[in-house]
């Protein structure tokens, strides 16, 4: 039972590169896209590809769509399907031949998905307005007044 490969840096966080996370993501998308060669290795390594029935898709074309989305341009249909189903398995990170150059493939997919939601409109927004209200009910079912006051 061994975790195959972990690239973590325990404890230390990255230094801030932007004033906000929104600005960081806006700046980082094109930067990661510039590092990506659309070789398709991340797509090939992704375990969700089989779940989606995308194994016959062209990895290079699909990952080219990843670059496009990260720049704010529309992506291919297969790319949209793929990024929408990212479950953060992280196998793309180790598979990426450009990782040593600073390409975080999982972050690139994450940004591409955000672009498809917010910029190109290729993914529908799914909101759950009951998310936090439901958790509040769970908290009040179980936590003491002191825990509610101190933890939340």
């Amino acid at each position: 039972m061994t975790d195959a490969a972990h690239l973590y840096n325990m404890g230390k966080l990255h230094a801030a590169r932007a004033e906000t996370t929104e600005a960081f993501l806006a700046e980082t998308g094109p930067e990661l896209a510039a590092l990506c060669t659309a070789c398709g290795a991340c797509f090939d390594a992704c375990p969700m590809v089989d779940h989606l029935g995308l194994r016959a898709s062209d990895p290079k074309s699909t990952t080219d769509g990843l670059r496009r989305l990260a720049r704010g341009e529309p992506g291919h249909a297969d790319t949209i399907s793929w990024v929408s189903a990212c479950t953060k398995s992280g196998l793309c990170v180790a598979a990426c031949p450009e990782s040593s150059s600073g390409l975080d493939a999982m972050l690139l997919v994450r940004i591409a998905k955000q672009r498809a939601l917010n910029d190109t409109g290729q993914l529908p927004v799914k909101q759950d307005p009951t998310y936090f209200p439901r958790l509040k009910v769970y908290a009040r079912l179980q936590l003491s007044d002191e825990e509610l006051a101190k933890w939340l």
């Binding site: 039972m1 972990h6 906000t20 936090f132 079912l141």
Partner: protein, 288 residues
């Protein structure tokens, strides 16, 4: 990692609020390991990871949470934030910190406890005679070798026998729920392996896996336990599990429901508690 001090913030996230006992057990384990713990979670400490469709709101949530942890570090000496949730941990590492100036370090609870396992080991005196299959995902290993860390901790428990099982995609079960069939496949594969290997217990690592699998507790004489519950058992501490009991047909007592708001309980919580478990839902052709 140089912790420097024993004062920590335990950031348990949002969805752990379903599992109050697991929050309390985590705090207890950290305290027994020698840490002074301040717990934080819920909407006021949201990482923003579930709000990709609202980048400005997510950014504001992240800034607020980082500011609170900065304040805890600067004013209360809590310079380490200990995470439970892999989504929170990865979001902090990959997005929140690069977009905000953070003056604290982050580590996962399994890392911290594994680092001081020698301090916990003498407390694990009660044999836990279980044959345990660990329900694992591949994902979080990019940041923390969590599967190895939990195996290391469980291997300290007298009487407990670990058996190999499958490793599933994603970082935890909630991620799979968005992909049709993926969650049911993971649940099926875990269960099939547990039965084939004569396990009597499936051990979850994360809350969302516990949430999804808890309704299966007792099926084929296999019990569902989280790793903190198994460690607590080895310490002779009762590890009750209200959420699991509710998922199996129980319900909170009426006073708790009234305290939480009866109408909201019926509208928001009861449907989740009565939802078929993923194995059953898949067999019935229901969407997860």
């Amino acid at each position: 990692m140089a912790l420097g001090a024993d004062r920590i913030t335990f950031w348990f996230g949002c969805n752990m609020l379903r599992h109050a006992e697991m929050i309390r057990l985590s705090i207890m384990l950290l305290e027994r390991a020698g840490y002074d713990v301040s717990a934080a979670g819920g909407a006021a400490y949201c990482c923003g990871t579930a709000h990709d469709h609202q980048p400005r709101a997510a950014s504001n949530m992240a800034a607020r949470t980082v500011a609170r942890f900065n304040e805890a570090a600067e004013k209360d000496g809590r310079s380490t934030v200990v995470t439970w949730c892999p989504s929170c941990h990865m979001h902090m590492s990959d997005i929140m910190a690069p977009g905000n100036s953070a003056v604290f370090e982050v580590t996962h609870i399994t890392e911290l406890l594994a680092d001081c396992a020698d301090r916990l080991a003498p407390l694990l005196k009660v044999p836990v005679n279980r044959r345990v299959l660990l329900h694992r995902h591949v994902g979080f290993a990019t940041h923390v070798p969590v599967n190895d860390r939990v195996v290391g901790l469980l291997s300290r428990i007298p009487g407990l026998e670990l058996v190999e099982g499958p490793v599933h995609p994603g970082h935890m079960c909630s991620a799979l729920a968005a992909v049709p069939g993926a969650l049911a496949t993971a649940a099926h594969d875990t269960w099939t392996a547990a039965v084939a290997k004569h396990s009597d217990t499936v051990c979850t690592i994360f809350h969302s896996c516990h949430r999804e699998l808890s309704a299966l507790d007792g099926k084929d004489n296999v019990r569902i336990r989280n790793w903190v519950q198994l460690i607590a058992e080895a310490m002779g501490i009762d590890a009750s599990d209200a959420y699991l009991d509710w998922r199996k047909g129980g319900a909170p007592d009426i006073a708790a429901i009234e305290r939480a708001d009866q109408s909201r309980y019926h509208a928001l919580v009861e449907p989740e508690l009565r939802k078929p478990p993923p194995l059953i839902a898949a067999a019935q052709g229901m969407v997860e």
